[in-house]
């Protein structure tokens, strides 16, 4: 303790474990998939709508699962509603300066938008017989407004978890303000990988898949740059990763960032298998990244 590199070393671990790692990962997938689906809807062609639908199909179940993971992680799960309604006054409980408080509301809001888009996607696919629900997606005015609002909420869900960690006093988490930025890029990367995987599985062929693959490469490079920025911003605190956690982080970088980029650049001729392999690697790397960030701090 006398040689502690930061005052954050004098704090106690939060006991945030696997459920929170899972929530960060799945919540990131939900927000990121929706964000990408909106991008495809707004900037892609009509033929790309099937790809965007996959994003909406991921977003709602993923955020619903996240909504279950969070209460289960509480030590008093039945009091989950105390985060939404003040238990003494029955007024809305909202603190804009507390990322956890804001995050709970964002979960509800994003859940609402992702549900509407999910219904619109189902209607477009003909899985539910309500053609009027198609208006809940772009290019109509209502659909565009909903997509933009939902996309903003999706971005928030993808990134606020990093800000939540920064707004503590724990080692590593609060020693850099860049975790939110890193998580946004990681969520986009893992979401693009998930959409590509499901598109491949359902045999979907659209030129937008190439666009998405190319975008994923770009985002992976961004993620790598953001991670380097995180390490630099940590300064002497980064020595906490001169341990088994650092090895795992390196593995996350190799598996989730470098290997997919190499696969993407060096072996285009094996495209179909490459898409699957690199998507699986990106997902594994994104999960490992969250494991390292959560548990390396909890271990101090």
């Amino acid at each position: 303790m006398i040689d502690a590199p930061s005052s954050t070393w004098f704090t106690a671990p939060t006991h945030w474990g696997w459920l929170i790692v899972l929530y960060f990962f799945i919540g990131g997938l939900a927000g990121g998939s929706y964000f990408l689906a909106v991008l495809i809807d707004l900037f892609g062609r009509r033929e790309d709508r099937a790809l965007a639908r996959i994003g909406y199909y991921i977003a709602f179940p993923a955020i619903a699962l996240s909504g279950l993971l969070l209460p289960v992680d509480l030590t008093r799960p039945l009091r989950f509603w105390h985060m939404v309604i003040e238990s003494n006054t029955y007024r809305p409980m909202f603190k804009y300066w507390s990322p956890m408080s804001l995050g709970v509301w964002a979960l509800l809001i994003f859940g609402f938008f992702s549900f509407l888009s999910f219904l619109a996607a189902l209607a477009e696919d003909g899985r539910i017989d309500r053609p009027q629900l198609r208006a809940l997606r772009p290019p109509g005015a209502l659909g565009t407004v909903l997509a933009m609002m939902g996309g903003t909420a999706g971005f928030y869900i993808a990134g606020y978890t990093g800000v939540l960690l920064a707004v503590t006093n724990r080692p590593i988490w609060s020693d850099t303000p860049l975790l939110g930025m890193l998580f946004v890029a990681s969520a986009a990367s893992t979401s693009a990988a998930s959409i590509m995987l499901l598109a491949h599985r359902s045999g979907l062929t659209t030129p937008a898949l190439d666009d998405l693959h190319r975008m994923d490469d770009w985002v992976t490079i961004l993620e790598l740059l953001f991670l380097i920025a995180v390490v630099i911003s940590l300064g002497p605190v980064a020595k906490a990763w001169l341990s088994a956690w650092g090895v795992l982080l390196l593995l996350a970088v190799v598996v989730g960032m470098i290997a997919p980029l190499v696969l993407s650049w060096r072996a285009r001729q094996l495209r179909h298998w490459n898409v699957v392999t690199s998507a699986v690697l990106v997902l594994l790397g994104g999960f490992l990244l969250r494991v390292v960030i959560i548990f390396s701090s909890e271990a101090i």
């Binding site: 099937a50 008093r76 507390s98 990134g159 707004v167 975790l179 986009a188 975008m215 770009w218």
Partner: protein
């Protein structure tokens, strides 16, 4: 409205009797560790080890001995929640379970807390933890119930050397400053006050007289508010989203929104 109240702990007169720990446990009906099974730390005479949901007072034993054990000293310090004027736990609590009382102290309402544990990570001093019986976050309440009844907290009442002193913050600061001057005059020039002024989190309503660096006592030299990262963290996250968005727009932009046949599996 009563004046702000708190503790002044003079570590130079603490004898490590742990009467404060016992009094705290007794009054607040805190459970024993491991159901009462005697668990020794193995490397210290201090077997409490740390503050947590069941130990709201902890007398730290800092055993400073030379390699050959011929020379050494004990630093003893009864640690507790600092009842910060700018309280990190209160700031982040998403349920409103953590409140500031009329005595300017910080209390966790156990019937409101849902155990999200955000406050545990926010506290710069590592004071809070989950109480395994209530399954809620708990810490020292500065004996809020006793204070409401006009009594002083159990720990300071039990302290046999007046190492823990209870009173109004104004009075305690005066008393502590005089004690520092007295120690300086008698040759103990290392004595200083930790957290007695507004520079540290607006002032700690439980502050300390120390004779070594804060780190030696397990106290952070530079405790900060967690929200220091809120604005920069959010700005960087938005920048990240813009970068990701641009990557998306750039890769999809040539494709336009022109109508065309929809792809089908």
């Amino acid at each position: 409205m009563p004046e702000p109240m708190g503790f002044y702990t003079d570590t130079t007169v603490c004898i490590g009797c742990k009467a404060c720990e016992v009094a705290c446990k007794e009054w607040n009906q805190l459970p024993s560790t491991n159901g009462g099974v005697n668990t020794l730390s193995g490397d210290s005479y201090d077997n409490t080890r740390r503050l947590d949901g069941m130990h709201w007072r902890h007398v730290k034993f800092i055993e400073q001995f030379s390699e050959d054990r011929k020379d050494g000293r004990w630093l003893l310090m009864s640690d507790v929640c600092k009842h910060c004027v700018h309280a990190a736990c209160l700031e982040v609590c998403p349920t409103g379970a953590i409140i500031r009382t009329e005595f300017d102290t910080v209390v966790i309402q156990s019937n409101t807390c849902n155990g999200c544990r955000d406050c545990i990570g926010a506290c710069p001093f590592g004071v809070i933890d989950i109480n395994p019986v209530s399954q809620t976050a708990q810490k020292c309440t500065l004996c809020y119930d006793r204070m409401q009844g006009g009594l002083e907290p159990a720990c300071s009442k039990a302290c046999p050397t007046k190492s823990i002193q209870f009173g109004t913050i104004r009075e305690l600061r005066d008393r502590a400053q005089k004690r520092v001057e007295q120690l300086h005059q008698t040759g103990e020039t290392r004595a200083y006050l930790y957290g007695a002024d507004e520079k540290m989190l607006g002032g700690l309503n439980s502050f300390y007289l120390l004779v070594d660096k804060p780190e030696v006592y397990g106290l952070p030299p530079d405790p900060k508010m967690p929200t220091r990262n809120l604005l920069p963290g959010s700005v960087y996250a938005v920048l990240g989203a813009i970068a990701v968005g641009l990557a998306g727009i750039f890769n999809f932009r040539n494709r336009g929104a022109a109508p065309g046949p929809e792809a089908r599996p």
